[in-house]
Symmetry: C2
Subunit: 456 residues, 2 copies
């Protein structure tokens, strides 16, 4: 196949201990303590940088998730981990997940601005609302706040954060040694936000960062999630199983972005893909099966039962899902994930055991096993056919799955002119082709100034 | 003078942009953008490590403090900055300040545990309660919570944090690939804390860190501050102007620690010192005066007026402080700092201008100008006479003040057998001579087990 396109393709490496496949830690090659091993992650980031990936990314939740028997559990806090990685890399972007439901805007805006300073403009923030009751119970709540409430808080959180990031004009620090004036106080602004969820005075206690603010990434695909993305996101991670679904999602989100008055090009959409590579298709399939056989089905079934809100006994391993499951409307947790799992199972008429295999590999993301050429074709096709601006690459096994992708798939994408051969800039915004945001205070100022000139 | 003591002396480097003297940024040698320059801080940490310091330390407050015209303002968030420094150093301890008033225990415990993992056991946390109304207004409050309330919250915060740090037994992760069991769920504990300020379910979402938990540092010297220190602190930073005051503080705090049922040796007391070095005493004095002359007195007077809760006009530069100032009891902010300033001014009958000069150098910490021999004598004397277990070294100018201290004072302390010539361990606990804490869950378990054996 010879797909070509003038738009470059973007690649993000979604990193996770020994890999995205839940049984990856059981392979002889895997370091089962990788989840707390900073050297493991430094190595992964260096591999991704060798492959000129746009960024590396860590998911996160402020709660211990699932069964600790099942797979490496507990992880390093992502802003700390990415800062540790920044020192071992030069160019690659660094995207950390943090929850708007369980943080304060002042502290989190400060922290991401600091990562952006320390990394020379490589920070990104995956904005999530956290669909876990265990997280709520770590922060004084009995129950998960409603889905609507979490997204309303997220929107206000982002308003406040952007205002704080803008609170220092880019030229505020004069450093006038002679005159004894370090900064011009008139260029450092209070924020004076008073909203439904937050009251924040400002200014932020750190000067504006190299990128203006970190690249804002969003990963919720429910209605509320897409609305938030259309207004604030600069990149979107999403789980899509088929070309048609991915095209529909892509078209829908880009249209929403346009309706929100923004340039659709200013939001990059990256579906997840779990590539399992082999020298032949058969070899790739065999590797996938070897991994699936290492899954302990009881753990996975309990997890599935929690997500679907049924008892584990209602899910016999060799039967399809029960017919009477709740609607997405009734789910207060991760709506889009719920729907994705149910749709996948029904569409392909999977037994619980088969469904578990599919989720064990990519947790609902598209798993694709094949030769490097086949994987490159699959990516190029989605990219050419309006399903993706790039991909969230989720190796089943780490580090081997990432280095195989970099050594075998990336060169094909480069040869086809779809992917950069070297970095041409130093910031994450540059890699993704995103502009540095103009400060909202500078915009206010220009507007006032124009009105003044008009004598208004 | 030939002071000797069998107890080793500890040194912490308190780092701050271009130095602790407020006018240091105006010197030709200073980088006025050092406050956001990670390379500046990496260099400082390497210098301190060359001097085998126990640790480096950053103060912090979640608010922009004072007048941005006066000195470099705004700073990198300390856990991020210390993580960036960790990668450039091997042994030195890394102490970050964070407020218990404006953080959640779950997030902060996770973050410090992560820094401890990433640095191989070098993390410390300076626990502060934040005496600034501007901080309150960044977190939805109109006024500063009362001093008592802040300290009550701090104590409960530390209880919760310690429980979270202990929530994974050291041997919880089995990594049993053959059996398909990653961790033993019975060795990962919920916390189920329900108190006045916090309800936290747990467990923490990261395994127990190399030091068990970060070294806990405390820096408030009010009654409530000393009570908190006696129960939780493992090191205490304090500002003391005279040998007698420092001895009294030292004796008082060690007695309180003993009364709290702890070993007084398990808490190290480090008064601050701002050393200004010269080849001769006259040269050191001249350098100090050169710096003081660069202070813009208006900024400093406004700050002093805020601290003393009077109008700037009530503080004529060439008069002593007014007679009718409030009592420490009436101050809800930084009580011990308030008292220290007033006492210093009254004792030495300083004019406002002179007081500003003294505070401009060390903000209430002891400034000592002299030859390296004289500075070493001063440190050795306090150490020998029961006023200090070590010192919080606050160079007036950075990096030069730190490298001069390392090159000229440290060798003298080493020759006298007072200070290490090389690191003998890899963790901050090791450097300070502090034990790794036994997990409170393990203690509970042993107690239950003993009761079982007794048939109770
Ligand atoms: C690639 C990807 C990564 C995600 N990472 C996280 C994460 O780290 N933490 C989290 O709470 N949710 C994460 N999510 C889930 C969503 O952000 C969102 O919180 C969840 O789906 C609920 O939102 P929704 O109902 O809009 O889908 C991720 C989703 C995707 C597609
Ligand atoms: C060396 C030293 C460093 C300090 N650093 C901080 C700091 O970074 N942030 C802060 O809020 N308070 C800091 N403090 C102040 C105290 O921690 C405390 O918050 C304040 O003095 C109020 O407590 P007190 O009334 O018990 O003295 C520091 C104090 C000392 C002596």
């Amino acid at each position: 196949m010879s797909t070509s396109s003038r738009k470059p393709l973007h690649l993000n490496a979604f990193l996770m201990s020994t890999g995205h496949h839940e049984a990856s830690w059981r392979l002889p090659e895997s370091n089962p303590h990788a989840n707390t091993d900073v050297e493991h992650y430094r190595e992964l980031a260096r591999i991704a940088e060798r492959g000129t990936f746009d960024s590396v990314f860590f998911a996160d939740s402020p709660a211990l998730f699932g069964d600790v028997g099942r797979r490496p559990s507990g992880s390093l806090e992502p802003t700390v981990l990415l800062t540790a990685i920044a020192a071992a890399t030069e160019r690659i972007g660094l995207i950390a997940t943090a929850s708007t439901t369980y943080n304060d805007p002042y502290n989190l805006a400060r922290r991401f601005a600091s990562v952006d300073h320390v990394s020379g403009g490589r920070a990104g923030w995956n904005v999530v609302t956290t669909a876990s009751v265990d997280a709520a119970r770590n922060f004084g709540l009995e129950e998960l706040p409603s889905h609507r409430d979490r997204y309303a808080r997220a929107a206000e959180f982002l308003e406040v954060a952007r205002r704080l990031w803008d609170s220092w004009d880019d030229d505020a620090a004069l450093a006038d040694k002679e005159g004894g004036v370090w900064a011009d106080a008139s260029r450092v602004h209070r924020v004076d936000h008073a909203g439904e969820y937050f009251r924040v005075q400002g200014p932020l206690n750190v000067p504006r960062s190299p990128q203006g603010h970190p690249v804002l990434v969003q990963a919720g695909s429910s209605e509320d999630g897409k609305t938030l993305a259309s207004e604030y996101a600069e990149a979107v991670f999403t789980a899509q199983q088929t070309l048609a679904d991915a095209q529909a999602f892509y078209a829908d989100l880009k249209a929403r972005v346009a309706r929100a008055g923004r340039d659709p090009e200013a939001v990059k959409i990256l579906p997840g893909i779990v590539p399992v590579l082999g020298a032949t298709e058969a070899e790739a399939r065999a590797r996938e099966e070897q991994l699936d056989q290492l899954i302990v089905p009881e753990y996975a079934r309990e997890q599935l039962a929690r997500t679907l809100r049924v008892a584990p006994d209602d899910l016999p391993l060799d039967r399809e899902l029960p017919a009477d499951l709740p609607d997405e409307d009734e789910i207060e947790g991760a709506k889009s994930r719920y729907t994705l799992i149910v749709t996948l199972a029904r569409r392909e008429r999977l037994t619980v055991r088969q469904l578990i295999g599919r989720l064990g590999g990519g947790r609902g993301h598209r798993t694709f096993s094949g030769t490097p050429e086949q994987v490159a074709d699959a990516l190029a096709e989605w990219h050419a056919k309006g399903a993706a601006d790039g991909f969230n690459v989720m190796p089943a096994v780490l580090p081997s799955g990432l280095s195989e992708f970099v050594d075998h798939v990336v060169p094909i994408l480069r040869r086809r002119g779809l992917f950069r051969t070297e970095y041409t800039g130093t910031t994450l915004r540059h890699h993704y082709g995103l502009d540095r945001p103009v400060s909202s205070f500078a915009r206010d100022h220009d507007r006032t100034h124009q009105l003044d000139l008009l004598g208004a």
